[in-house]
Symmetry: C3
Amino acid sequence: MHYREVRTKREFVARMETGADWREELETLAEEAEIDAGFFYALGAVQDAEIHFYDQREKAYDAVTFEEPLEVAACMGNISWLDAERFAHTHAVLSRPSGQAIAGHLDSGTVFAGECYMREFEDDLVREPDMTTGLDLWL
Amino acid sequence: MHYREVRTKREFVARMETGADWREELETLAEEAEIDAGFFYALGAVQDAEIHFYDQREKAYDAVTFEEPLEVAACMGNISWLDAERFAHTHAVLSRPSGQAIAGHLDSGTVFAGECYMREFEDDLVREPDMTTGLDLWL
Amino acid sequence: MHYREVRTKREFVARMETGADWREELETLAEEAEIDAGFFYALGAVQDAEIHFYDQREKAYDAVTFEEPLEVAACMGNISWLDAERFAHTHAVLSRPSGQAIAGHLDSGTVFAGECYMREFEDDLVREPDMTTGLDLWL
């Protein structure tokens, strides 16, 4: 376990714009408010979604696309710097009318409605390539 | 992205009462502690649940009822004012003995056990009808 | 609803070690940083997982094992004292390459990668046996 004590600088609540991209909205908040590191939580609904699954053996992401309205039952993730840009690492649990749940790494999704809480840390988080997993990790 | 900086006023941990309603317990906490705005996170188990899915085209909620014990694997949401009452907008991911996940907007559910963390913001959040989505949204 | 106001003492971000156990990593953070009570949120991926479902009638946990790589789409829980040890009560939503979601009480899982945010409260939380549910509950 690699850990670091952090201090919260600012906190935000946000409402996402209908028709915008879910992950881009989170990155827009980070950019506009100049948040270099933080954790966020969100809920709402999307009009479609692209979920990624990381193939741990092949070290590559596989995409699955859902062209249907879905509830965003739970969404959490964090803001950090990746390749000189603010990146919202976003995981989500989505659901269909039957209640059936779909989950994973949320690459994109068209916002129907979304509510978010984000807290910003004083120190920034920077992602760098990790040899073991093939992922970009911080700390 | 519509956003607002907020400041945390108080924080609470809570244990839900067995046999009570999951969402009403969250609203009871908000009412008793006079929380006008906040975000919450909870986990536990319910004896049954009613999940809602918002039909984005018809602009109406459809209900699905589960008359069976379910784990509450993840629950998040927020407290705001709606129609002159404190409302807990509650999303949840539930699960069956096989691990099968069910998710969505949680309207109600009979608590078996529940643990909650809620943080209160200084400024209140008020929901008002949004023409585009047909939902009651804040900000 | 049994509730208590709490104050946050410290906050941490952490990266889990590949190959370690997911829940043990959370408990390691609590032990090393001497956290007696807190709430945490995490996301990442595991190489396998053991999910528990609490049988509300039999008052016992049933286990389901998944011997496959899974995304950790959402994980939340809390740190408290149980039987003189720091215990990470951990719930998680996992997912398969198709996006299919699996959820429940996460007993264990081999970390592939994991990112965590944990906040520590000033007062400790202690779990004690609850007659009604057969669970160990705090407050």
